[in-house]
């Protein structure tokens, strides 16, 4: 057998070793190093597949010829490093760089990262105008009017996602022509609900006309209060006036006072001031955003919604520009139930557990119902919320000694002594069920309808937890059978071992498959099993670097040794979600701060979240890209 090319998860120590052994000649300028030493290696070994024409795997190296271009391609180098170190790229059938050439590439990647981290580039990144996504829109209507979000959310089609994979990325929030009709319909639906429910109606119409309050004053009070959080700042007269006019005209056409207010609210809910997230511009290279703009960034990040009155009060009083004032608000907002949105929308998309809402396991073979679906989702939501806002550590995602269960779910998992319908934190005595890898929602969404998929589970660990996605398989490779009753070899495992016999499969599958084998005790709906087709499952795995483990508990110990990668990936994901854009080279100083915050606070969420809220990209804005210098 061919010796494995490198570790499954390249060890940091190896990189450090290489760096100390092989320093790039200091005399050469950065420009010369790139042009004379690094670029020729890329040209020789990589460009064939990754030129502007083929762009295999979506990677175009030809666009990186100049040093500033190359420096900016931060994410690409992370991938390149991972795949070089693990021997996945270049593919086995292509010419391979020798060890010294590989080291030149790796050293340059590390040098570039140090360069970017040094803070020579001060760039908050681009923040484009975008609309509220459907989740934010529905949540905002809930917060403004009290209507149930699900009533509103389903008016709109599922949205795609971009950047690091979140649906709040402005680039992918299009406004198709049908949108206005949907906004109008959603506003109407919401208002019908409000006016049908006395308590909601009373909340909106808190200051109706009265002997001491003429109708015009009543309208002004009502709309000013409702529109302030919707438009995310205190309305100047010229913004408020058209809505007052609209209400007055409606009354003049024979409507009641309520009719007038209702129409004005409807107009506000269709207004670009509500639907579109815009920020003011200045001529400076970069500038801090205004208080209300920062308040909006905060409420979208932590609540997936618009700000409330206390937040706007603080913003308009200038308190958010003060670090203590900002911290006070972040603390208050996280303590508020609205911050469950962070678990629902950030963790739900990052860990992909929200996908369980659309999962379709074969119910004739596996124990799955509408109730199971809800329980699996509820467990993942509570677990994530506990890590983000409760007492948990984010490291518990890799392994935890507790789970969030109720009686029905505990029975599903075979865990005794949990009674009653309420979810609660249940201590675990072994290392099997804890962490995200024990969540039924994750185990279900990484399975096929009729069998588990060690490959998908391994891929999930590499992509979602560690941020090191494997490249796509070449075409024409096929997949193995999908129904575990029809496997001709005794086990899926033996079917999958075919991967290791093929050159074009081995490099990546040697990393993915063993991780999945260790989770084979979990069936396609997350239940525990010892056997499959009357065979005792073999849940042992060996990684390319020789590390060996058996079963989920030992796998989690291996993952816990990958804290650095996990921290980087977590920082990338949460920062991207907070900013609503993909991560760029200019974010590296911020990422470094976030990573060290994680390491020094034992992966507590609050310091991480606060650090993001204080960061340059979160608090600043620019229009023109900041150029990356060569030296």
């Amino acid at each position: 057998m061919r010796p494995p090319a490198a570790g499954f998860l390249p060890l940091l120590s190896l990189t450090l070793l290489l760096l100390t052994v092989l320093r790039l000649p200091a005399a050469a300028g950065a420009e010369a190093t790139w042009k004379e030493q690094v670029w020729p290696i890329i040209q020789t070994y990589c460009i064939d597949c990754h030129d502007a024409e083929s762009q295999k795997g979506g990677i175009d190296l030809a666009s990186l010829q100049t040093l500033p271009q190359a420096r900016a391609a931060l994410r690409l180098w992370w991938r390149a490093r991972d795949q070089l170190e693990s021997g996945q790229m270049p593919p086995p059938k292509k010419d391979q760089p020798d060890a010294a050439q590989k080291q030149i590439l790796l050293a340059w990647i590390a040098d570039n990262e140090n360069f970017l981290r040094s803070g020579k580039v001060l760039d908050p990144g681009e923040r484009r105008l975008r609309r509220l996504n459907r989740t934010e829109y529905a949540t905002a209507l809930h917060d403004l009017l009290g209507v149930p979000p699900e009533l509103i959310r389903d008016t709109f089609a599922e949205e795609g996602a971009g950047g690091e994979g979140f649906d709040n990325v402005g680039d992918t929030l299009f406004i198709p022509p049908v949108m206005a009709e949907q906004y109008l319909a959603a506003a109407e639906t919401a208002l019908i609900e409000v006016f049908a429910k006395p308590e909601l109606k009373a909340r909106l119409l808190f200051s109706p006309p009265a002997p001491e309050r003429d109708p015009a004053t009543a309208t002004r009070l009502t709309l000013a209060r409702m529109l302030r959080p919707a438009f995310r700042h205190t309305l100047p007269e010229e913004t408020l006036a058209p809505y007052l006019n609209l209400a007055a005209q409606r009354q003049a056409r024979g409507g009641t006072w309520e009719d007038g207010v209702r129409l004005a609210v409807k107009a506000a809910l269709c207004s670009p001031d509500f639907l579109l997230l815009t920020e003011s511009n200045q001529s400076a290279p970069l500038w801090p955003v205004t208080g209300p703009e920062l308040a909006t960034r905060l409420s979208l990040f932590l609540w997936s919604s618009v700000p409330d009155a206390p937040l706007l009060d603080a913003a308009e009083a200038g308190q958010l520009q003060d670090p203590a004032g900002l911290e006070t608000q972040v603390r208050r907002m996280l303590a508020d139930p609205r911050a469950l949105a962070l678990a629902r929308n950030f963790a739900g998309q990052w860990l992909q557990f929200e996908k369980v809402l659309g999962a379709d396991p074969d119910r004739s073979r596996y124990q799955f119902s509408g109730e199971t679906r809800q329980l699996l989702y509820g467990e993942a939501l509570r677990f994530s919320d506990h890590l983000l806002r409760g007492g948990g550590s984010l490291l518990d995602i890799l392994s935890s000694d507790y789970a969030w269960l109720n009686e029905t779910l505990a029975i599903h998992y075979g865990i005794p002594n949990v009674t009653g319908p309420d979810f609660r934190q249940v201590p675990l005595t072994n290392g099997i069920r804890g962490g995200a890898l024990g969540l039924g929602a994750v185990l279900t969404t990484t399975s096929l309808p009729r069998r588990t998929s060690p490959v998908l589970r391994g891929k999930w660990i590499l992509e979602q937890l560690l941020g090191t996605p494997p490249p796509a398989p070449p075409p024409n490779v096929g997949t193995i059978l999908e129904d575990d009753r029809k496997i001709t070899h005794p086990t899926i495992r033996q079917e999958l071992e075919a991967h290791l016999r093929r050159d074009d499969c081995r490099a990546c599958h040697a990393r993915m498959d063993p991780l999945g084998f260790a989770l084979e005790n979990f069936d396609p709906v997350g239940r525990w099993r010892e056997k499959l087709n009357d065979q005792v499952l073999d849940t042992s795995g060996t990684l390319p670097d020789g590390r060996h483990f058996t079963g989920p508990a030992e796998l989690k110990q291996i993952l816990l040794s990958e804290k650095d990668r996990f921290a980087r990936n977590l920082a990338v994901k949460l920062l991207s979600y907070a900013l609503g854009r993909s991560i760029e080279a200019g974010d590296l100083p911020t990422l470094s701060k976030l990573e060290s915050s994680l390491h020094t606070t034992h992966f507590q969420a609050f310091p991480l979240i606060l650090e993001i809220c204080r960061s340059l990209p979160f608090t600043h804005r620019r229009l023109t890209p900041v150029p990356i210098p060569s030296e």
């Binding site: 979506g58 795609g160 971009g162 679906r373």
Partner: protein, 459 residues
């Protein structure tokens, strides 16, 4: 003849009674004025099947009208006089990058798709249906209709650096703006056929005042944002205008007469009842879990009814998003999900399942043709005035082939002459077909996508 003048007052009165009106000769003053006897309008629908086909079971034997149905085309036997099965068309600019996403996004556009994880989504140009809708969309209640039965996949495919939204959209308003497919039959039904809630003059005026205010604000805002952001704001302005246009279209239709085809009402009631029954099967707490076949058929019925009522003339339908892993085990003998079955490695058992899944798609297409054929219009049927293309952006899914795509065209809209099995020279651009369809629908185009010439052989 002078067009009857429409005052603002009649417009506003009209909105309330805007209900669906089938295309009847008596209701076609515009067409009659122009051409003498009324000609029913031409409709176009494009039905997308993800993940390709079993390549050995698709192509029929024989050429022209003498074709002998292949196993996968067997469900279309009843419609053989209305069909053209197209061989050797290809979408060459979809090559490269990744196996799926670029190919589905460019299926109806024929341009190269920009590789991106989301920034600067770009498919090169509008899709075929939208090119047609740009020409005729203002004449109907909805300029175009986009339907599907599977939600768009969220996220980015990190293996190939593509946003998965490309795989979920075949309809593109322009090179940057995808049109999402509605998967909820109730919502689609309401958009197409609901008698508007605003059924009095007052409500119509309310709606107009809301739109007026919104439009004013958006224009003011436009002056304040960066050039980059103006594009997004223009999309917003466009959607407001689209709604105004739709309201106008409703008004124009009502102004043109009050006749309601008596056969339409019971059909609509039946469809509404089926949707209600279908919704009752919803899985608590989850996204809808429903009978997949019924779901597909409801959406296809909506297209058929929309065409019959002349509520729209351009429609797209996605049987699934690309790389769909839909569980097809509801079919006898199938245990695989869709995408996985398409990577069959030439194993007999997997190919068999792949073919059965393909066959299901062809059966649903046949269902739509049955429906359109049963809808009388003028001397013939709605199918006689339609172009209904069914196909995939891949041939053999296992190899992600983009040559010799599986495609069937049905109907006689725009004087199409069904040609049976029409074999083109190898490597003929798919866009040559599209150019032909657009030209015969009255668009004075010389080029579409990567077309080299209009396809010949379609009469």
């Amino acid at each position: 003849m002078k067009a009857p003048s429409t005052t603002r007052r009649t417009i506003l009165r009209g909105i309330g009674t805007s209900i669906t009106l089938p295309f009847l000769e008596s209701l076609a003053p515009r067409a009659r004025a122009a051409t003498g006897p009324a000609t029913p309008p031409t409709r176009m629908a494009f039905l997308f099947m993800p993940n390709g086909v079993h390549p050995d079971r698709w192509t029929p034997e024989g050429t022209g009208q003498d074709w002998k149905a292949s196993p996968l085309l067997a469900p279309l036997e009843n419609h053989r006089q209305d069909l053209t099965i197209l061989s050797h068309l290809q979408n060459a600019l979809a090559d490269g990058g990744d196996g799926h996403y670029a190919k589905s996004a460019s299926w109806l556009t024929g341009f190269r798709v920009r590789k991106t994880t989301g920034r600067d989504v770009d498919v090169g140009g509008p899709s075929l249906d939208q090119a047609y809708a740009a020409q005729v969309g203002h004449l109907t209640r909805l300029p175009s209709l986009e339907l599907g039965i599977e939600p768009v996949r969220k996220g980015v495919d990190l293996q190939v650096n593509f946003t998965q939204l490309y795989g979920g959209h075949i309809s593109w308003r322009d090179r940057h703006v995808p049109l999402p497919a509605e998967i909820n039959p109730r919502t689609a039904f309401d958009r197409l056929f609901r008698e508007r809630g605003e059924n009095d003059r007052q409500t119509a005026e309310d709606t107009r005042s809301v739109l007026d205010l919104t439009l004013t604000q958006a224009k003011t805002l436009r002056g304040k944002v960066s050039q980059e952001d103006q594009r997004r704001l223009d999309e917003y302005l466009e959607t407001i205008r689209a709604l105004e246009t739709r309201i106008q279209a409703d008004i124009a239709r009502v102004a043109s007469g009050e006749n309601l085809d008596p056969s339409l009402k019971p059909e609509l009631d039946r469809l509404r009842n089926r949707i209600t029954a279908f919704e009752a099967a919803k899985d608590p707490g989850g996204q809808t879990r429903l009978d997949h076949t019924e779901h597909a058929r409801l959406m296809l019925d909506l297209i058929a009814m929309a065409f019959w009522a002349d509520n729209t003339r351009a429609a797209t339908f996605m049987f699934g998003v690309d790389v769909s892993s839909k569980n097809f085990s509801f079919l006898p003998g199938v245990s695989e999900s869709h995408h996985e079955s398409s990577h069959h490695s030439d194993k007999a058992e997997k190919l068999e399942q792949y073919a059965r899944i393909n066959l299901w798609h062809v059966e649903q297409y046949a269902y739509l043709l049955d429906r359109l054929k049963s809808m009388k219009e003028g001397e013939g049927s709605v199918l006689d005035h339609s172009m209904i293309l069914f196909g995939s952006s891949l041939r053999n899914g296992n190899a992600h082939q983009w040559k010799n795509l599986p495609l069937v065209l049905a109907g006689r809209g725009g004087n199409l002459k069904p040609a049976g099995h029409l074999i083109q020279p190898e490597n003929t651009p798919l866009c040559n077909l599209y150019l032909n369809l657009l030209q015969r629908s009255g668009l004075p185009l010389e080029r579409f996508g990567d077309s080299t010439a209009g396809l010949s052989g379609l009469g």
